[in-house]
């Protein structure tokens, strides 16, 4: 599955970039811009890292020989990350994307030593003059997923394979629960924590465990297609994560969240070429195309599709926010008052379950 860019955008971009490259990077205009990517998983994970790599290849396709990209895969989120990032910076990479939350401190430490290199940290919150952050508003996708899951479940139990209890993951669970209950007030979301981003064995076991607990719709916030496969083997419909996982469950994928990084990466590389790069915080969703959904599966009826599309449309046109009040917390207290549309900061700091989620957040 490669990302296809509209031909016109491609041509315009190329022409503009050629003009500006000379202006933006006078000293190095002749040599290709080296762009580095640090991945937490293998490029063949068919999920998170795979989609970042699709974005990287989009950069190569777009800029041709004016860029040179490098990636390092399966980098552990610990002390090793700092060495890898530093090695990229020291070997002439001028723009480096570090694509996992756990690379944050390492990115900042290396950035302090390499003031001329630009860094971009995915899903992070700490910035510096040469460190930008970016993430997708994945909860928008989860709102649609929750709507479908709420209508599909018979047992009223929706399984959710969760990685680490960071706000981003809690947010996804909450968005799923809120929207499942809007169409099915009996529905509950049952999370199971696997403490990993990528471990096909554990992810598949978690899926099996959830199904044995009566879950009949599966969603996940881990990176491999193993849960989708495990669910399909047991006849349970599932939602793909980060990329379209249909080929792993042709009959059972309800839809999939698709992260689309290519356009963002192209924009940021362009900015470095132009000399206009600044440290920014980007958080884009459906409207900007960073978050997309795969085609609905065969179990989704036209009515379900219509309800799901309505949620999606209202988010895109800005008439609806997935977390607009009233939202009740799991303990029955009010999280967001009726009519209140929470700010990005409020959404970012979300660390409590909403009503309809089973269990408690670990830690």
């Amino acid at each position: 599955m490669t990302l296809r860019l509209p031909r016109r955008t491609l041509l315009q971009g190329t022409a503009a970039a050629t003009l500006l490259a000379a202006a933006g990077r006078p000293a190095l205009a002749d040599s290709p811009l080296k762009v580095g990517f640090v991945y937490v998983g293998p490029v063949g994970d068919f999920g998170w890292t795979y989609r970042h790599d699709v974005g990287r290849r989009a950069v190569e396709d777009h800029f041709g020989d004016r860029v040179e990209t490098t990636f390092v895969e399966s980098v552990s989120e610990g002390p090793d990350a700092e060495r890898v990032i530093r090695q990229l910076a020291a070997s002439g990479h001028e723009l480096i994307f570090t694509t996992s939350f756990g690379f944050g401190s390492s990115t900042l430490r290396v950035a302090r030593q390499f003031a001329d290199v630009k860094f971009e940290h995915a899903t992070g919150y700490q910035r510096a003059d040469n460190v930008a952050t970016y993430a997708g508003r994945f909860h928008e996708g989860r709102a649609v997923v929750g709507t479908l899951a709420g209508m599909l479940t018979q047992s009223n139990r929706i399984g959710y394979i969760a990685s680490f209890p960071i706000p981003e993951v809690i947010r996804g669970i909450n968005a799923t629960a809120i929207h499942a209950r809007k169409v099915n007030p009996e529905a509950q979301v049952v999370p199971i924590w696997v403490n990993t981003w990528y471990d096909p064995g554990r992810e598949a076991e978690a899926a099996a465990a959830l199904i044995s607990q009566g879950v009949d719709v599966m969603t996940q916030h881990t990176d491999s297609p193993a849960p989708v496969q495990a669910a399909a083997e047991r006849g349970v419909p599932a939602v793909g994560q980060a990329s379209d996982m249909r080929r792993f469950a042709p009959e059972h994928q309800i839809t999939a969240l698709i992260d689309t990084w290519g356009p963002y990466y192209i924009r940021r590389v362009q900015a470095v070429l132009d000399g206009t790069w600044t440290s920014t915080d980007t958080w884009e969703g459906f409207a900007d195309g960073m978050v997309q959904l795969a085609e609905y599966g065969p179990m989704v009826t036209p009515e379900m599709a219509a309800a799901a599309d309505a949620v999606r449309t209202s988010i895109v046109d800005g008439t609806y926010d997935p977390f607009q009040g009233p939202i009740m917390a799991q303990d029955g207290s009010v999280m967001f008052e009726d009519g209140h549309v929470p700010s990005d900061d409020e959404i970012r700091g979300m660390n409590r379950y909403v009503e309809g989620v089973v269990g408690s957040i670990p830690g």
Binding site: E73, P79, R83, Q87, L88, F101, G102, I166, N195
Partner: protein, 356 residues
């Protein structure tokens, strides 16, 4: 048909030579593999083995990476010599990091003074020992298999780390993200060379090698471990209690693993507890221990070879766009050739006509 016949006495020279043979064979096999993948083998081998060592920073990183491997493997080797199998060093490392790092992040985060680091190290060692005492106790008291217990306790330790960093030990200023406060300056290991990450832990590891060598070669304890491993019955006739050997092996290896964990968080870990402390040093150290022939000096060398395989793998990814699997394949080669060479040291292949 080809048969293996046990040699009466494996020669010492060959025992020393096998790791070198294994390394050499891995290099040859690696070169062939690179060639088969369509890369220039000479350039790839250079990128893997030489290029990472050409800068001060690279050498410092080699030492940084070899430090925990050396410390842990030294401890494990003590037990392995006596047939005591501590497979849970990763858990003991985590507990050491938790105890020492917890002191620095939760109690003394404002404190300054030279006393802080030694205190953290002590906490790390004690916590590693205490955690290793669980499998030792269960083994000596109830005869429970120490391999299983120590291995399973690793996952408990990792979950404890995760729970604390995601929960009560979270930095109040970090927007709910899972990381502890930063340690105070006195809680960070001093850097030995400016602009690198080479820290005080490396000389500590070298010191540990020296001490371990003295203990194994020159003391009754070393003799006891050796005899218990080679001939358990003889050991008990000599008055060496097997239970004491188990305890000794677990306490020493647990303490060293705990120290390695503390060194990781107070050194390259950046003076902070995060959900991932080690990329599996506790398990990699098992390879290091055997590659080093369970001998302290051998372990020191083996730790550097294995550390280099990580650096080389990263370098090939960056400079030649090879997949990360290169690192794993190389470590696999190393272990495979070592074991294969080992068989040939202990047994001699003999051609014999099949006797129906």
């Amino acid at each position: 048909m080809l048969r293996l016949e046990r040699r009466s006495a494996p020669s010492t020279a060959m025992r020393v030579a096998t790791p070198l043979v294994a390394v050499a064979a891995s290099i040859v096999a690696g070169g062939l593999l690179f060639a088969a993948l369509g890369h220039d083998p000479e350039r790839a081998l250079y990128g893997f083995f030489i290029a990472p060592l050409l800068s001060t920073y690279g050498l410092a990183e080699l030492a940084v990476k070899a430090t925990p491997l050396t410390l842990i493997a030294l401890g494990l080797a003590m037990g392995f010599r006596a047939g005591v199998w501590n497979i849970g060093a990763e858990g003991q490392l985590t507990m050491g990091a938790l105890a020492g790092g917890g002191l620095a992040a939760m109690v003394f985060y404002d404190a300054q003074g030279l006393w802080l680091l030694p205190l953290m190290c002590l906490a790390g060692v004690v916590a590693g020992m205490a955690y290793a005492a669980i499998p030792a106790f269960l083994r000596t008291r109830f005869g429970v298999n120490e391999i299983l217990v120590s291995l399973m306790l690793t996952y408990v330790a990792l979950l404890a780390l995760s729970a604390l960093v995601h929960g009560p030990w979270r930095d109040p200023g970090a927007f709910n993200f899972p990381e502890s406060r930063f340690f105070s300056d006195s809680g960070n290991l001093p850097i030995l060379i400016e602009r690198t990450r080479l820290h005080l832990g490396y000389p500590l590891a070298l010191l540990a090698v020296l001490v371990a060598w003295l203990v194994l070669a020159r003391t009754v304890i070393g003799f006891q471990l050796e005899v218990t491993g080679l001939a358990p019955k003889a050991a008990s006739f000599a008055g060496f209690k097997p239970d004491r050997t188990v305890w000794l092996a677990f306490l020493v290896s647990g303490g060293l693993a705990g120290l390695a964990g503390l060194i990781e968080v107070a050194g390259p870990g950046g003076g902070q507890l995060v959900p991932t402390i080690s990329p599996g040093y506790g398990f990699t150290a098992i390879i290091v221990a055997f590659l080093g022939r369970l001998h302290p000096v051998g372990i020191l060398l083996a730790a550097h070879v294995v550390a280099l395989s990580y650096l080389g793998g990263e370098n090939l990814q960056i400079t030649m766009r090879m997949p990360v699997a290169v690192t794993g394949v190389f470590q696999g080669f190393l272990l495979f050739f070592l074991l294969a060479a080992d068989v040939l040291v202990r047994y001699r292949p003999v051609w014999k006509r099949a006797t129906a």
